[in-house]
Structures are given as C-alpha cells and as structure tokens.
C-alpha cells in the first residue's frame, strides 16, 4: 500500500493506514452523501417526499471519517441527521431512498421514514427522532459486545445540542465505569436548531465534558476526513483493546438549515460562506491527488459514479410500491 514519494513525506499520517481502495471508497461515500442530500432536497421540492428532513451537507467528512475505521460487524447508532452515517456504513442508497419516499421496500418498509432509517443487518441500529436517544442505547450495545467477547465496537453519533441532555451524561458515565467498547462521536456543527453552542454550553468544547467521565476527549477538524479518521481509528483501537470508551468531537458545520422549515435567521451569510469554502469533499479529493494517491481522471469518475447511483436510487424509490394499507398493523404485537 505505501508507495513512498517525496510528495508524500509531509502528508497526513492517516494516509499510511488507508490503502488506495479505502481512500477511493471514502471519497465515493462522501460524494454519495452529498448527492443523496441534494437529491432529497430536490425530491422534496418536487413533492415526491413528505414530512421533514435534516440534511448533512457539509458534514460528510465526519460521518465517513468516523465510520472508516469500523469493521463490517461493528455497530453504529445515528441521529435525526443520519443519512450520512447510514451511507458511510455502507447502506444501499436505493433502500434508503425508498424509505425516505415511504415505500414498502424501504429499509423500514416505509414505517419509519427519514428520521428512522436503520440497516440492522449492516450494523446501523438506527437514526433517531429523539435528540440524544441513541446515546444510552450505545452503552447496551457496547455491553453486549463486551460480554460476548466479540471484539466489536459501537460508535454513536450525536450533536452538540444533544450533549445538553441528561441522557448524554448518564451514558458517558455508565460506559466509562463499565469500560465498554463505545466511541462517542460528536458532530459539533455549532448549532442545535437556532441555538449556538456559545449560548447553550458554558464550555467551549463538547470534548471538555469527557473529562468528567475520565475518558479521552479529542477535538478534530470535522471537515478533514483524514483528521477524523485518525482520531476515530485511535478511539476504536482503544475500545477494542479493552481500554474503554472515548469521545471524538468533530468541529463541523451544516451548510443547510436545520430542517426544511429553517429560515436561517440566526446566522450570517458570511459565516455560511466561510464554511462553504472549507467544503470537506474537494478537500479530500485535492489532498489525494496532490499526494499521488488518486488521479484527476479517477476522481472525476468516482463523482460521476456517485451521481449515477443516486439518480438510479431516486428512480428506484419513485417507482416502488407504497405500503398496502391492509398491512397497517403488520409487526404490531401489543
């Protein structure tokens, strides 16, 4: 994997941990997320999807970078802003869109929708409509892995806003005292709906809170795939070797509103533009091209393939059948 060249010497140490296939996969998944979200937005405008949605445009590096060190049999728990985590874990975008469209062949047979997409077989134990809802569940997933001595890790995503819920503090404490293989990944996009972290927390970083539970709390540039990967990799290694949980805080930004109804009145155009200039996707692509791990032509092909996959996924969802109302009470047992 390591082709040494003069240009590579100053490159990121994470590059030594990832072979070319892994790097291409990461870039492809970041493109897939971006195009998934853009297509979701378009489908909403065209009236093809209903309900609400929380887009993760701008946060692709934290999802893909965090999940990249996971094994196929590791678990993730996701949030209301969860499409990226799901794609990062390798989900089928056709089945994701089908769920989003409320179709019978979606990941949750149309019963859950955007906020509840889960791919249980693929190790994604679900997005969550309750802020912080996944955090305590992760403790139990970690407990199960530890008791089964499976070597699996549970990675749970949450937002900056979620770290103000009691569930966050209870979960970190429990995972710490039981020394569980859990990696807490905070995607700090600096707002919980309209409330900035400067207004919602007295500490500057969510990672500062890890100290209260005697676990490592690392802060990384969440728009830098390699930095996120490196921190997540270390946290996963620690979890697998019995050292217990860690917290990784990815400083990032959502380029879209909180949900479709957000009028973005609480932040400035300049702020949004300054983060657009730090777009994680061209950043990874340019780094890989510069260090010679990817050609321009291959980079362009990856993006085009992702676009084609998403286009086909939307078409698949659009032409899939609605759930049959006669099956309304399917899976209802009490």
């Amino acid at each position: 994997m390591a082709r040494t060249s003069a240009r590579r010497r100053n490159a990121h140490p994470a590059l030594d941990l990832l072979d070319d296939a892994a790097l291409e996969r990461a870039l492809r998944r970041m493109h897939l997320i971006r195009k998934f979200e853009e297509a979701a937005e378009q489908s909403y405008i065209r009236g093809l999807i209903h309900g609400t949605m929380h887009l993760s445009i701008g946060q692709e590096a934290s999802a893909v970078g965090a999940v990249a060190p996971l094994r196929a049999d590791d678990y993730i728990l996701s949030t209301h802003r969860g499409h990226g985590h799901c794609i990062a874990k390798g989900a089928d975008t056709k089945l994701m869109f089908a769920e989003f469209f409320g179709k019978d062949n979606g990941y949750c047979r149309g019963r859950g929708g955007s906020m509840h997409i889960a791919d249980i077989a693929g190790g994604n134990l679900g997005a969550n409509g309750i802020v912080g809802g996944g955090l305590p569940i992760a403790v139990g997933v970690g407990l199960s892995a530890k008791m089964r001595r499976s070597g699996q890790v549970c990675m749970v995503f949450f937002g900056d806003g979620a770290s103000n819920e009691g569930a966050f503090h209870e979960a970190l404490n429990l995972a710490a005292i039981w020394r569980l293989p859990v990696v807490f990944v905070c995607e700090n996009n600096q707002y919980g709906m309209s409330m900035s972290t400067a207004r919602s927390m007295p500490v500057a970083n969510v990672a500062d809170r890890a100290a209260a539970y005697a676990m490592p709390g690392q802060i990384v540039d969440g728009n830098d795939f390699l930095a996120v990967f490196e921190a997540a990799h270390a946290a996963c290694e620690a979890a697998r070797s019995g050292e217990g949980p860690s917290l990784v805080e990815c400083k990032t930004y959502r380029l879209r509103g909180h949900s479709k109804s957000d009028r973005n009145l609480y932040r400035t155009k300049e702020e949004i533009e300054s983060w657009r200039a730090r777009d994680p996707i061209p950043r990874l692509r340019d780094t890989l091209v510069t260090v010679g791990r990817l050609s321009d032509a291959r980079a362009a092909a990856i993006e085009a393939e992702a676009a084609a996959e998403i286009e086909a996924a939307v078409e698949f969802a659009r032409t899939s059948p609605d759930p049959d109302p006669r099956e309304l009470e399917r899976d209802v047992y009490a």
């Binding site: 209903h50 309900g51 609400t52 409320g102 179709k103 019978d104 949750c108 149309g110 019963r111 859950g112 929708g113 955007s114 906020m115 509840h116 969550n128 409509g129 309750i130 802020v131 912080g132 806003g161 979620a162 103000n164 819920e165 009691g166 569930a167 919980g192 709906m193 309209s194 409330m195 207004r199 919602s200 927390m201 109804s261 009145l265 609480y266 609605d322 759930p323 049959d324 109302p325 309304l328 009470e329 209802v332 009490a334």
Partner: protein, 324 residues
Amino acid sequence: MAELRFAKAINQALADAMRDDPAVVLFGEDVAAAGGPFGVTRGLLDAFGPQRVLDAPISESAIVGAAVGAALCGLKPVVEIMFMDFVTLAMDQIVNQAAKARFMFGGRGGVPLVLRMPHGGGLNAGPQHSQCLEAWLAHVPGLKVVVPATAADAYGLLRSAIDDPDPVVVVEHKGLYALSETVDETLVRVPIGQGRIARAGRDATIATYGALLREALVAADRLAAEGMSCEVVDLRSVQPWDEALLRESVARTHRLVVAHEAVEAFGVGAEIAARMVEVAFDDLDAPILRVGAPFMPVPFAKSLEMAYRPGADRIVAACRRLME
C-alpha cells in the same frame, strides 16, 4: 368579528398574560428569537425581553424542573415542549414533582406551571413526532389537561391555565396552528373543565376534543343528509372533563360516540365511556362506541398514516352502528 389563526390566538394569550402579570415567564427550545418551531412565540422576546422569554438548551428534564422550582417560588412559567413526544424526557418532573407538590406538602406550596405541547399526526412526521399522549397525563392525579379545538378556546383555555394555581397541560394539535377562524373581537377566558355543545342534535352525541372536532362536525353534516341528527360536544378539557354536560346531552340523545385521535385502548374515550355507563346507563339505547386510532405506533408513509388516523368516515360509521 375578526379572523384569527390558532397559533396567533395562543401568541395573543401569552402576550396578554405577560402584560397582566410580570410573574409570567416563558422557557423552551427555540422559543425566543426563533419564535418557536411553529411560530407560536413570535415577537414575545421583542415585547418582553430576554429576562422573561428564555431559550433553553435541549434539556427537557431541566427545563421542566427549573419551571417547577420557579413556580414554587413566585414565578408563573409557561413551558413549551417542542413536540408532545418529547414530554417523555420530562416525565419525572411533571409526574413525581409538579403534580404532587401541593398534596405532598400539605397544601403549603403549589406549582402554578403551564406546559404547552403540540400533539398529533398528519404531517408525515413518523412514530416519534406524531403521538397523542394526553391520556397518560390525564391519568396522573394533580395534573389538569386541556385540548382546545378552536382559536377562541386556544386563547381562553391558555389564559385560564396561566391563572390556575396548579400545573396545567395545554395540548395543541399541530394541524390546527395554521388554521384561521372568525372570532369575537374580545377574547375571553374559558373555564377549565367546561365543555360546550358545538352543534345541537337529537339522535346521538359525539363527544370529542382537539382537532377531531372538525371531523366530528363534518360527520354530523354528512349524517344530517341521511336524516340522522347528531349533537357534537367539544369537551375542551379532558381532565377534569365536563361530566354534567355530557350526561345532559346523552339524556336527550340516548346514544354516545367518543372520538379522539389518540389510540383507542386505555384512552380518554375509555374513561368517559366507563363513567357514562355508571351514571347514565338507564338513558342509553345503544352501547357507547369509541373512535380512536388503532393500538399501534404512528406510521410514516402517507398511505399508512391516512389509514391510521381516525376522521369523519370512522365517526360516521360509528354513528350509523348506533342506529342499527
């Protein structure tokens, strides 16, 4: 007469109460500058300032707990829980603390707290953002629960809730916020526990509350065309509910349907039906029927949510069965 949106009526009640009583304060997520996720608290930060309209972090238990403490010591907090589904995170403070305080302290302390929370489906919001959980709260001694169906009642019940010396839960249907109605220029308080006859009729009584009132009135129109005359009672409060009014109505119509959007099993309708059997059995010519959602989570897909939610069709069907 004037046109008033349901959301604006609530906003008006909050503004009037805050103007009348400096002890009234608002807390919640996104309620201040953002004006609330449904726009209900828009303009109140500007009118009353950041001392009285407080944005809180996503900490439902602490938000409600802080309101309980503030209420014990002279303030009158009105808290917004963004979706009723999230009340689960504040249940200890509501059920074990707020609801018990006056009794537990031998009457030497009370919690004049108002909790506003939107319930209900129809927005394709899925299983965790669509529930109607009012029966849970109505089941707790020490809590009052009101569910306005009209803009005038949204104003009047909220004013009464804020005046009340004890905790009151005001449940608002999300689907009503944007709807307008013609109302009297002067809005007045509506006493908690008092229902109203929304439409007079002879053959059967449909008792309902909240968003299902509109469906019940549609059902009554359709049944009138078939020659069946239905009385529609808007309960307005579900705890306490207006037993006397319903008894009187049933004494005239001899038939009763209780309709709500919440799941039918163990619901408000079950309590009302059981009580009416106890007190009005001799007046009844038919079994009391309930119309509610099936006993299952609220599904996301449009095709399923439409099949799930009770509406005029099911109320009509129940009324026809009463006449068989």
